[in-house]
Symmetry: C2
Subunit: 219 residues, 2 copies
Amino acid sequence: MPKSRRSVSLTREEIVEEALRIIRTDGVASLTMRAVATGLGVTPMAAYYYVKDKDDLLRLVSERIAESSGVLRVQSGREWQDVLKEHLLALWENSTRYPGLGGYLINQRNLGMTGERMEMGIRFFEDVGFPPHEARLAWSFAMTYIHGRISVDAHLAHKTDAPRLHGLGAGDYVRFGLDRVAAGLTSMLDSSDERSAVAGRGSRPTTLRAVKGGRAKRG
Amino acid sequence: MPKSRRSVSLTREEIVEEALRIIRTDGVASLTMRAVATGLGVTPMAAYYYVKDKDDLLRLVSERIAESSGVLRVQSGREWQDVLKEHLLALWENSTRYPGLGGYLINQRNLGMTGERMEMGIRFFEDVGFPPHEARLAWSFAMTYIHGRISVDAHLAHKTDAPRLHGLGAGDYVRFGLDRVAAGLTSMLDSSDERSAVAGRGSRPTTLRAVKGGRAKRG
DNA sequence: ACCTGAACACCGTTCAAGT
DNA sequence: ACCTGAACACCGTTCAAGT
């Protein structure tokens, strides 16, 4: 139902909130500029004063969700694998509450997050022992997986919970995947195996596959 | 340019071909029922005699691309990890030739493949030693990753090749990821018999969370 | 059986105009 | 500065009708 006539100015914040509400309730397919306007009690073009276009609105929505999932940062006293899994799981939980959004997120450059958040994520992997290029690849790997999972689960999450095909629910799939992601990355640091091995945390010069141009910028 | 007046009947095959051509050339956003009709020299509604709706057409398109990537099957004399990586890479290469399709594929149930192909994939993992439930999880994990990668690369592939951010190209990301996927899955099979317990190599055993109801149906 | 033609109910977005 | 109102150029899809 449209709200009654507004007495105060619209805000960008308000528009983003309304967009989030619509997606949460009816899915991303129901997010139209006209629906946002109706929900806020204004005419279709009113929101255009605050956002450039629909893509801009979705970008703001994406960043909002990323923000609500905290940041990826090393924590003393905890294994980095656990910190990573917890963070990715939080992102998955927050994102899957917005049916269909995953399919949009994954098409965005930087997966709908700010460059700043991205750099923090890469930093995380550098801090746990990955050389700069590998840290970038590792971050991308982890993010690609979880966004893939979010997209796959995007429309399942819409339905009444627990589809449980073959006795397995969405939570089982994502937790299994996160364990594999962590294991796959850990095996790179285990200084032993693998052909293109990356030497681990115990110093040791790393022989990298010829990747040029990257510069490590560390605080 | 619209073809001149048709003298023979339309076919479903022809419609799918035209859809593929449009996506390859102009991206999935340019795929409209009207564009397909124009390309085939018919009126907008003609295709509806052969496909139910746009979603149905996209499903056919998706299956077509999956088919062109071969099937996942164990090969004697080759490591299963290599077979897996090769198959996923083929899927990635075929899919990224269709700009924007990834974002659609990943939203489809079964990721745009037939149930038959899915069962074959799960069988692959059973054949290399995963118990039924884990085989399903493993297949889903691998497919989720590669479709995530396809989606992320979907719009990059549109541009003239090799964006090479920070000295890394799309090929580097996907190959790195596939190595991690294989390593993550391999670590489950190490130090365990192919019968029961699936233990992670590092510290904690991956406790099989109460998953019930799965039945192994093997030919 | 196969396709056309006209229409409907939507979209995102432009533009000029109002206050 | 902030928003309205009308319009434009699209969509997917329906329906009845033609051959």
